[in-house]
């Protein structure tokens, strides 16, 4: 009688000695299994820690990469040049009207002024290379300065001129560094490089905060390209999305949770909502193209249609999280309200909605963040166009931040590489802000019951 001492099929009662023996045996087994269990627990914890570490490492790698590439886009090289707004040369006086100023030839004036600074440059090709160190919009910028302040005419001013992207890239990445010919990032020729050296030595070259990035919209010239248009486009698109998707999703969630009977139809709807959440976003773009643009003949490339498409895309997300939030409201609250004689709608509006609101808002913000980062469906409806003006309304052609990133990442100019990373940084900042807002709102509005 060894192993069977603890089975019920025993006929006679075991003696105290036998019981002790059996217990000692069990203790041994327990000790052995305990060791195994503890080891398994440790392994599991370590697996968890490793996966978290892997995740953090990936995010860190991504962020460092983007940051190191994009940080230089937040500065821009300027060249101080002394310019005399010669009245005779421009054919203007301080009393000239705006129309006259606009008609004046600032292009040749700009070139003449530059040539005056460098009398030693006489060859035609060399002159062109000199002009190329400055952004091609410089004459326009000068003209606008004079339009804004005609009293400049006849005076001599030191103007901070925007350097061309080739100058900018060379100055930021290669200048003053002992780099081999292969490592050097530069599209400047030797003469231009010498000019740059000369300018830097004279103290005329300055790096300043790149406000152009935030005040300009897209441009073919990297030094003039900014994300204002894309940000405006994103804001307008998200505005349309929010206005449409929040009420529709909340109404749907409330109806499905609180009013709809549970039957085959509601089951079918539920399955479909869950399916919609998993549909690739590009398909929503195709749908938008087919329905809104082709069938209803709405304009393409506009935030209104972008908002429609993103509404379709975010609806399932918001509906699902809103339903979860409504489900989480304890039934006792509903019973209390119904027991007081509140109608169904009063119960929902007075009691269920306030309690579910934090969850609903969190879901909405997460849906919005998803919409903010969405590119594919917007490509389908033409929000991928090259648009130089920032949109001022939801029916103006526009693009959005992620699409702008897509466009820039496709551009051949070296300077667009850093612009791309800078735009990603701005997008990530928006996303982090929105997600933090979601967390904060949830903490803030959450109530105990």
């Amino acid at each position: 009688m060894t192993d069977s001492s603890n089975t019920a099929s025993n006929d006679s009662m075991p003696t105290p000695v036998e019981v002790d023996q059996a217990r000692a045996e069990l203790a041994k087994r327990r000790a052995a299994s305990l060791k195994k269990r503890n080891a398994a627990e440790k392994r599991f914890q370590w697996a968890g820690r490793l996966s978290i570490a892997f995740g953090i490492a990936c995010v860190l790698f991504l962020f460092t990469d983007i940051f190191s590439k994009g940080i230089s886009a937040f500065t821009q090289t300027y060249i101080d040049v002394e310019i005399t707004f010669d009245a005779e040369q421009l054919g203007l006086t301080p009393q000239s009207t705006e129309k006259e100023i606009k008609a004046a030839s600032f292009g040749s004036f700009f070139k003449k002024s530059l040539r005056a600074q460098y009398p030693e440059i006489t060859e035609r090709k060399a002159k062109r290379q000199l002009y190329a160190l400055f952004t091609s919009d410089m004459p326009l910028i000068l003209r606008n300065m004079v339009v804004a302040d005609p009293s400049l005419i006849g005076t001599t001013q030191t103007i901070s001129m925007i350097a061309d992207d080739d100058f900018d890239t060379y100055y930021k990445h290669s200048y003053g560094k002992n780099l081999g010919p292969d490592e050097k990032i530069s599209r400047l020729n030797e003469m231009q490089e010498n000019l740059v050296h000369q300018l830097v030595r004279s103290g005329a070259v300055k790096k300043k905060f790149n406000s152009i990035l935030f005040t300009n919209s897209d441009s073919r010239e990297p030094e003039l390209a900014g994300i204002k248009g894309a940000i405006m486009g994103s804001i307008l698109t998200l505005f349309v999305t929010l206005i449409l998707s929040f009420p529709i999703a909340v109404a749907t969630a409330i109806y499905l949770e609180e009013f709809a009977p549970t039957n085959k139809i509601t089951d079918f709807i539920e399955v479909n909502i869950n399916n919609l959440a998993a549909v690739p976003s590009v398909i929503f773009g195709l749908l938008g193209l087919a329905v809104f643009i082709n069938f209803f003949g709405m304009p393409r490339s506009v935030p209104l249609i972008g908002g429609f498409v993103l509404t379709l895309m975010t609806l399932p997300t918001i509906i699902i999280s809103s339903r979860a939030a409504i489900k989480a409201v304890p039934p006792s609250i509903r019973e209390a309200a119904l027991g007081m004689g509140a109608s169904k709608v009063q119960t929902v509006v007075h009691h269920v909605l306030p309690l579910a609101m934090p969850g609903m808002l969190t879901g909405t913000i997460i849906g919005m963040a998803q919409a903010l980062g969405e590119t594919a469906p917007l490509l389908m409806i033409g929000m991928v166009a090259f648009i130089v003006d920032a949109p001022s309304g939801i029916t103006d052609p526009a693009t959005v931040l992620p699409v702008q990133i897509f466009l820039w990442s496709d551009s051949p100019e070296r300077a667009f590489v850093e612009k791309t990373s800078a735009a990603i940084m701005v997008l990530l900042t928006f996303l982090i802000c929105m997600n933090s807002l979601a967390v904060w709102l949830r903490k803030r509005l959450e109530r105990r019951w």
């Binding site: 549970t262 006792s332 209390a336 119904l338 027991g339 007081m340 004689g341 009063q346 007075h350 105990r448």
Partner: protein
């Protein structure tokens, strides 16, 4: 009703008769031939019972005997359960409460309810008591509403404890205070009947004693139906006691008689602790 259920009901009708005195003259509520089904399953079998005016009637019985289900029929709280179906005649002052013309909102204003777990709204103490008056439009202005809130809280013996913190969340009160608040909330709309579904089962003995005392006082002006698991409680607070067993109303009698000299064998077995 399908045939299986019909025959079942027939059998029950034939085989059982409620002992004691389920019927009264001039009752507040009159229940005749009540059958309740959850989908195919019958939970209440042919109950005939009168609920006396300004009296406390307690419903006792083992778990799952249908006493809560029966209670929830009296203000149609069972309507919220999709699969629940109620048959028979349930009258409040000779008005059929399951009549199509009856608005359930109006009914629940007349037949209030207090639940097992204190369930104040996650709002201020004041808002909790004022809620019924607000939704039913019982007061004209803030002064009247303040008065009503104060009166209701005084009635429930809660006024002195909460008068300085009316704007604080009701969920911050203790369990017993919360339950008294729920009673205050219920009586604020001045219902004719108050249904209480094990109102003390989540409370400690001291809070229970306070609530029981309150029930006793309220019975002067309100008709009260209380479901309870505690036979002592039934004995303390009620004038009449109804014993339910497996969905059937076995015996109804004066409380003193039920606990001293039960007529039916099942009642006796329950109160002596042999079933339960």
């Amino acid at each position: 009703m399908n045939t299986a259920q019909q025959s079942m009901t027939e059998i029950v009708k034939e085989t059982y008769q409620t002992s004691g005195h389920p019927l009264l003259d001039d009752p507040k509520m009159r229940v005749r031939g009540a059958n309740v089904f959850y989908a195919q399953k019958q939970a209440i079998f042919d109950v005939n019972l009168d609920i006396g005016k300004n009296q406390v009637i307690s419903m006792i019985g083992p778990s799952g005997c249908g006493k809560s289900t029966f209670l929830r029929c009296l203000n149609r709280m069972n309507d919220t359960i999709d699969i629940c179906r109620v048959e028979g005649q349930l009258l409040l002052e000779s008005q059929d409460i399951y009549d199509k013309k009856i608005d359930v909102v109006e009914l629940r204003a007349r037949v209030g309810m207090v639940f097992q777990k204190p369930n104040p709204f996650p709002k201020s103490i004041y808002e909790n008591v004022a809620y019924g008056a607000r939704i039913h439009g019982l007061t004209d202005n803030k002064v009247q509403l303040d008065e009503l809130v104060e009166k209701s809280l005084i009635r429930c013996g809660l006024w002195n404890e909460v008068k300085d913190r009316l704007e604080e969340p009701a969920t911050g009160l203790s369990g017993g205070q919360q339950q008294r608040l729920c009673i205050a909330r219920a009586i604020a709309v001045n219902p004719e009947v108050i249904l209480m579904d094990e109102p003390c089962s989540a409370l400690d003995p001291i809070a229970t004693a306070t609530v029981e005392e309150l029930i006793h006082e309220l019975s002067e002006n309100f008709t009260i139906c209380i479901v309870t698991h505690s036979m002592q409680q039934a004995a303390r607070v009620s004038q009449r006691t109804a014993y339910f067993h497996l969905g059937k109303l076995i015996e109804v009698n004066d409380t003193s008689q039920v606990f001293t000299n039960p007529e039916h064998q099942l009642t006796e077995e329950y109160i002596t602790g042999r079933i339960g």
